[in-house]
């Protein structure tokens, strides 16, 4: 059976035009998708059943038993951390936050090691953005700063920017100018009209230089700024200002590099400055297909996009204190529920070490690095393949992922609902 307009649950592009052929409970072909999409849909290496650690070895267990033990661990904990959420649908995220509320837990999503700094910057200066179609139909200057879409968001350029024809740009590739800014010459840099190579850690200075030029202060620019020549800076600024509609996309090259959220703040302020001359938008290249959804759901329920601490009863937020890496670094939490992410692989070693010390439970379809650190793992259906639910694209557009077949695994929502019910009962509510 061929299913059309399938939504891809891999990256923040959330492409919704895939054609997927299904035979029984197996995907047999994927059209229109990128390599990442094909791997995701065709992947067939799920964890077969719930597992638990018994001393130094692993054993299979039942869903009932695994959920019961998880509830006990969470109820026994003084400072549980509920982490992950970006790889599941919004309905499951919603239960997760209510579970945290019930437990007085810390709840955090993968933004914490991704675009958390972007959120902090937005909280300082705001965010002039737009939906991706606005870029596709209008943008004649595209900037990719500290992001390599060809590897990380393979169809971003063909669906939304460089190669996508739009209403006001009938021949996109000819009509658009592309600027890539990075510390290394990535695949994406190879197709740029202008590649700006910055010395590592130099983003803040280069952004400041561009802001100064746009503000008409060319005279104060030195010969070279973080490895970028003054001539190139002038050229880039002129290109930026030549746009009728400019769109800046940025990635972890800004959020993870020295300066962190101040880099993003500077990029947003450059965008704001450019808006005094022409139209500009700026957008973070969100990684997980539904990381933005986790921010949205966290926000409408708790008021904050990530790093929410319910220990005081109220929702408390203070990045640097209530963020997962910090909580683990301080060895503060005494139990951790990981849902739809892999902190074992993506957190610093010291955090992985603490996860191994405390009872860590993972709800995830696949074994991963965190599996080896856990006490229990509960396999679930993959949203977008054998489970469905709401996802938010990197630009905030909500799209419902599809269930392509009914498999044998329960969804995240089902597991979390059962967990929530047990915890509620244990708390006498």
């Amino acid at each position: 059976m061929k299913i059309e307009d399938v939504v891809c649950p891999f990256c923040g592009c959330l492409c919704d035009d895939l054609v997927v052929e299904v035979e029984g409970t197996r995907v047999v072909s994927v059209e229109n998708g990128c390599t990442l999409a094909s791997e995701k849909f065709m992947g067939d290496h799920r964890l077969k059943s719930p597992i638990r650690r018994a001393g130094k070895r692993w054993e299979e267990t039942s869903y009932n038993e695994a959920i019961r033990e998880t509830a006990e661990i969470l109820c026994d904990a003084d400072r549980p951390l509920l982490y992950g959420w970006s790889g599941t649908h919004g309905e499951a995220q919603s239960i997760g936050i209510h579970l945290a509320e019930l437990l007085g837990a810390l709840v955090d999503n993968t933004s914490t090691v991704c675009h958390g700094p972007s959120i902090m910057a937005i909280q300082e200066v705001g965010h002039p953005g737009c939906t991706l179609g606005q870029v596709k139909n209008r943008a004649d200057v595209i900037v990719y700063w500290g992001t390599n879409p060809i590897d990380a968001h393979p169809r971003h350029m063909s669906r939304y920017t460089t190669f996508a024809d739009g209403f006001f740009l009938k021949e996109a590739f000819r009509d658009r100018k592309v600027i890539v800014v990075d510390v290394r010459k990535t695949e994406s840099a190879n197709i740029a009209d202008e590649f700006v190579k910055i010395q590592p850690g130099g983003d803040y200075a280069v952004l400041s230089a561009l802001r100064a030029i746009v503000m008409g202060k060319r005279g104060i620019i030195p010969l070279s700024v973080s490895g970028v020549s003054r001539e190139q800076l002038f050229r880039v600024a002129a290109l930026l200002l030549s746009a009728k509609f400019g769109a800046i996309f940025f990635g972890l090259g800004l959020t993870m590099s020295p300066g962190k959220y101040k880099n993003i703040r500077n990029a947003i302020e450059l965008t704001e400055e450019l808006n005094r001359h022409t139209k500009y938008t700026i957008s973070p290249m969100r990684g997980h297909w539904n990381v933005y959804g986790s921010n949205e759901v966290f926000t409408w329920i708790s008021g904050y996009p990530y790093a929410v601490d319910f220990a005081r009863g109220i929702a408390f937020y203070n990045p640097g204190e209530t963020t997962s890496v910090d909580v683990l670094r301080r060895k503060e939490c005494d139990a951790c529920l990981v849902v739809a992410s892999d902190p074992g692989a993506h957190f610093p070693k010291a955090c992985a070490e603490h996860l191994a010390q405390i009872p860590t439970i993972q709800i995830d379809p696949h074994t991963n690095a965190t599996t080896h650190l856990s006490r229990i793992q509960i396999p679930v259906a993959v949203t977008g393949i054998d489970a469905e639910g709401t996802a938010y694209r990197m630009d905030g557009v909500p799209i419902r992922t599809r269930m392509l077949f009914k498999g044998n695994y329960p969804s995240d929502t089902e597991i979390l609902e059962r967990l929530y019910a047990l915890v509620k009962e244990a708390k006498g509510l």
Binding site: T35, L36, E39, G43, H45, L47, I51, R53, K56, W58, T112, V113, G116, P117, M120, N148, I150, D151, A152, V183, R184, T186, P200, G201, L252, G253, M256, S257, K260, Y261, A307, P319, G320, E321, T323, S324, V325, D326, R329, D342, G344, A345, H346, F347, P348, K349, A350, C351, A352, L355, A356, H366, T367, N368, A369, T371, H372, L373, S374, Q377
Partner: protein
């Protein structure tokens, strides 16, 4: 020799991301990209093993030449191997210094370790399918 370590996504890392215990993932996540001139200075060949050490950890990786990287810098895709070297300090931002770590690189004959073994080094217990 000291290098500045940069991390980032690669298409292969993304492709194997749901098979973290596979050989293919390990191959990609331990691949360290280095400028050929630096490789000459270290007297190593393509696919040589190197010991990469920071103040926070040490891990074995495999070297590949890359012209897209500057001398003095190396690149590894994000993942458990690179993160073995990262400080958990976030400077009150929640975000560790995943990019721009200073590492010491020396040739070695030590083998690569599996993700499972790496996690066992962190105090976990290996799970095998």
């Amino acid at each position: 020799m000291k290098f500045l370590l940069n991390t980032g996504r690669t298409i292969k890392q993304g492709s194997y991301v749901e098979r973290k215990n596979s050989t293919a993932y390990r191959q990609e996540a331990t691949s360290l990209h280095m400028h050929p001139v630096d490789m000459m200075d270290l007297e190593i060949e393509e696919e040589s093993h190197v010991r990469v050490e920071s103040d926070y950890g040490v891990v074995v990786m495999k070297v590949y030449p890359a012209l897209w990287i500057s001398q003095g810098e190396v690149f590894v895709c994000l993942g458990p191997y690179a993160n073995h070297l990262v400080s958990p300090e976030t400077h009150c931002t929640g975000m560790p210094d995943f990019k721009g770590m200073i590492v010491q690189i020396t040739p070695t004959t030590e083998p690569l370790v599996t993700v499972a073994a790496l996690m066992e080094q962190c105090g976990g217990i290996q799970y095998e399918d």
